[in-house]
């Protein structure tokens, strides 16, 4: 089968559909995921195709949704639940941190929870307050959770299929600004496994390390830098936990310069962790300090001001210019 043009929402929908087709134990539930097909249409048509037992609406209560998913996984199902927006996942935080992440360890591996929690995240879509958070650090900090975020529609399909098959609980962050962007997707083509980063562009001067929506921004920055004679590589991390040190370290050791780019506020962030890991493992190869281009340490701004907050091509290139190039 050749590649079809799909939006990320359609690619995710195809992944859910194919997973439900392949495995009767896969169930999808959450708020508005049934008749409506989800506010971003990611679950469009699943209830019609598979019935109310496989894809259903729940009461409006995120802790209840994740708690019920945990119970269903304890009893043989592979639930995929939707948190409607990043900031609306917070009521489920205790269920995720105290139970979803810990039950396998608590029971010495006797009870594993193959649950996928899908969270649309990130800004740049003109969302009002509580609709644009990048909350990945909260979950990446918690042992026991696999944390995944695709940057391409091909990965959206492939990584969601892998996440559903994964024996561990997966927090699946979907960059919502990418939902309605079309790209070629070939569902017959496997993608790299969870736990592997991808080099999206090779470069010789600088390595940008990024994930989710920021990968597109990094690719644009690299393109622009190339016209000015600077060779920038881009690594798409894909899986925040477990982190692929090998790929990131190999790229940075080659170029000697690294900038980590992500939307989330920079303090105590996944970007900080990546920068720290690079310092530890690449120190003797570095030509310049590892830098970050992250969101400011402020509550997510209102839509009229959010462009100041988000990593931009210009801000990335400005930081690249400061990387000790000599005279």
């Amino acid at each position: 089968m050749s590649a079809a043009k799909l939006t990320m929402a359609q690619a995710l929908n195809a992944a859910l559909r194919d997973a439900m087709q392949a495995d009767d134990s896969v169930v999808v539930f959450g708020e508005d995921v049934g008749q409506l097909g989800g506010v971003f249409r990611v679950t469009d048509g699943l209830t019609a195709s598979f019935g109310e037992k496989r894809c259903f609406d729940t009461p409006l209560a995120e802790a209840g949704i994740v708690g019920m998913a945990i119970g269903m996984a304890m009893n043989g199902f592979r639930p995929v639940v939707e948190m409607q927006f990043d900031a609306f996942a917070y009521p489920a935080f205790e269920q995720i941190v105290s139970h979803l992440a810990k039950l396998a360890n608590r029971t010495r591996g006797r009870m594993r929870l193959p649950v996928v929690v899908r969270i649309p995240y990130g800004g740049g879509v003109g969302g009002v307050e509580h609709h644009s958070d990048s909350s990945e650090a909260y979950f990446a900090h918690t042992a026991g959770l696999v944390v995944v975020t695709p940057a391409t529609n091909q990965d959206a399909y492939g990584l969601l299929r892998q996440a559903i098959d994964c024996p561990d609980p997966v927090i699946f962050f979907e960059p919502k600004k990418h939902y309605f962007i079309s790209e070629p997707v070939d569902v017959t083509q496997p993608v790299a496994p969870i736990g592997r980063a991808e080099v999206r562009r090779t470069g010789t001067d600088v390595t940008l390390i990024s994930y989710g929506q920021s990968v597109s921004t990094c690719m644009e920055a690299a393109e622009m830098a190339a016209t000015e004679g600077r060779s920038i590589g881009v690594v798409d991390v894909r899986t925040l936990v477990p982190f692929d040190d090998e790929t990131v370290v190999a790229e940075v050791r080659r170029t000697g310069r690294a900038v980590v780019v992500a939307e989330a506020s920079g303090f105590a962030s996944v970007a900080s962790e990546i920068a720290g890991r690079i310092f530890e493992q690449c120190f003797y190869f570095l030509e310049a300090p590892v830098r970050k281009v992250a969101g400011f340490d402020i509550p997510y701004p209102p839509p009229a001001l959010e462009h100041h907050h988000l990593p931009s091509v210009e801000r990335i290139l400005d930081v690249v210019d400061e990387l000790e190039w000599g005279s």
């Binding site: 209560a61 708690g67 205790e94 010495r108 024996p167 477990p242």
Partner: protein
């Protein structure tokens, strides 16, 4: 037949229930008076004497578990023990009415219920001994790990029960919590989800009147905890929690109704936490000794024993047999806890993920290297001295 998800569909049924009369009355169910005399009830029959004898035997064992575990804390053998002394009727009935296909969702205070369900007593105490967070295989007896964050296990019970409905399995989840837990959001969400999905769950609230030091009046302004069921559309019962006969009858009826597709039930057991919250608590700071004495006089063991003795069902020989069984349990705990092995440090890393984590592998290697260095240092102290 269990109600199917299709029949539950919000798109097919009416979107309101204005034509239904709300239930507002809940009365206490009691089948044996505190003085041991039976009391007639128009809805529930007194369980037969053989069953009540079995309950009494289990309650004696449960009482001994509470006493022995508390003693083991004092001897430094357990890290902590939240006693269910005074609540043995609830502990025993909750587990005893379950069938092998059913599930139990216990809290940290429900060790006696876990043991009544058939879990090895030493394994049931692994959490409180501090050996591991859960010592038993939850799938072997269908007993979820004892839950510490209040009410958070209740939505899991709903999920397990609804999964059973979807699989066509005849299985009911018995979910335990206390009065304090009814203030948590997860209690509300679990009851609401269970009702909406008609999940076969029995919620048993052991209202023992205290959440550590905070009394019931600070948890709720409602006339009872059972009455909360009305708001969720969940049938509710208020039961004398020190009457094992009433608990057996009410909980069994709730399990049966759930198994037949009748959905969840909320049962409030009116009981009392005779001991402090744990050995680390000082109950004299927040309650009167006279209150404790008053409840101790309503001891659930004395009540059922008096009934069985008065009816001629319990003779000296049986009493001796039961006492011997309780002694045996105490001995098993003393010996088992003393000799329970500490797990290998590699266990710390072994179960966190099923998929490979290079970072955890490296951290485990670091710990193993430290342990190896320690081992060598203890074997050859002179050589490594610096």
């Amino acid at each position: 037949m269990p109600t199917s998800a299709g029949e539950q569909s919000g798109h097919e049924r009416r979107n309101d229930r204005r034509d239904q009369e709300p239930e507002t009355q809940i009365r206490l169910v009691r089948l044996i008076e505190p003085d041991g005399t039976p009391r007639a009830d128009n809805r529930y029959d007194l369980p037969d004497p053989d069953e009540l004898l079995a309950r009494y035997r289990s309650m004696l064992i449960a009482r001994r578990v509470n006493e022995q575990a508390s003693a083991l804390v004092r001897q430094g053998q357990l890290a902590v023990y939240p006693s269910s002394a005074g609540q043995e009727a609830c502990q025993v009935a909750a587990a005893a009415v379950l069938r092998p296909s059913d599930w139990l969702f216990p809290t940290y205070r429900d060790v006696a219920a876990v043991i009544e369900r058939g879990v090895d007593p030493v394994e049931a105490l692994a959490l409180l001994q501090g050996r591991w967070h859960c010592g038993y295989d939850p799938l072997a007896h269908r007993v979820a790990p004892q839950c510490t964050p209040l009410a958070t296990q209740l939505p899991h019970a709903v999920g397990v029960a609804y999964a059973a409905v979807l699989k066509g399995e005849d299985s009911v989840a018995m979910a335990l919590c206390g009065d304090g837990a009814t203030s948590e959001g997860d209690f509300h969400e679990a009851l609401n989800f269970a009702a909406v999905f008609a999940a076969p769950v029995v919620f048993l609230v052991q209202n023992n009147k205290y959440a550590i030091s905070v009394p019931l009046v600070r948890q709720t302004a409602a006339k009872s905890l059972a009455i909360k069921g009305i708001g969720y559309g969940v049938p509710a019962e208020l039961v004398d929690g020190n009457d094992v006969a009433a608990l057996t009858a009410v909980l069994r009826a709730a399990v049966t109704r759930a198994a037949e597709g009748g959905g969840p039930t909320l049962v409030e057991a009116d009981t009392y936490r005779v001991e402090p919250h744990t050995n680390a608590d000082d109950a004299t700071r927040y309650r009167d000794e006279s209150e404790v004495r008053e409840w101790a006089a309503r001891d659930p063991l004395i009540r059922i024993r008096t009934y069985l003795r008065n009816g001629g069902f319990l003779d000296e020989k049986l009493e001796q047999e039961f006492a011997a069984a309780a002694d045996e349990m105490a001995e098993r705990l003393r010996e088992g806890i003393r000799t329970a092995p500490t797990l290998a440090p590699s266990e710390l890393f072994a179960h966190v993920y099923d998929i490979a984590s290079p970072q955890l592998a490296a951290q485990e290697a670091l710990l193993q290297a430290e342990l190896e260095a320690d081992r060598q240092a203890s074997e050859h102290p002179a050589e490594v001295a610096r």
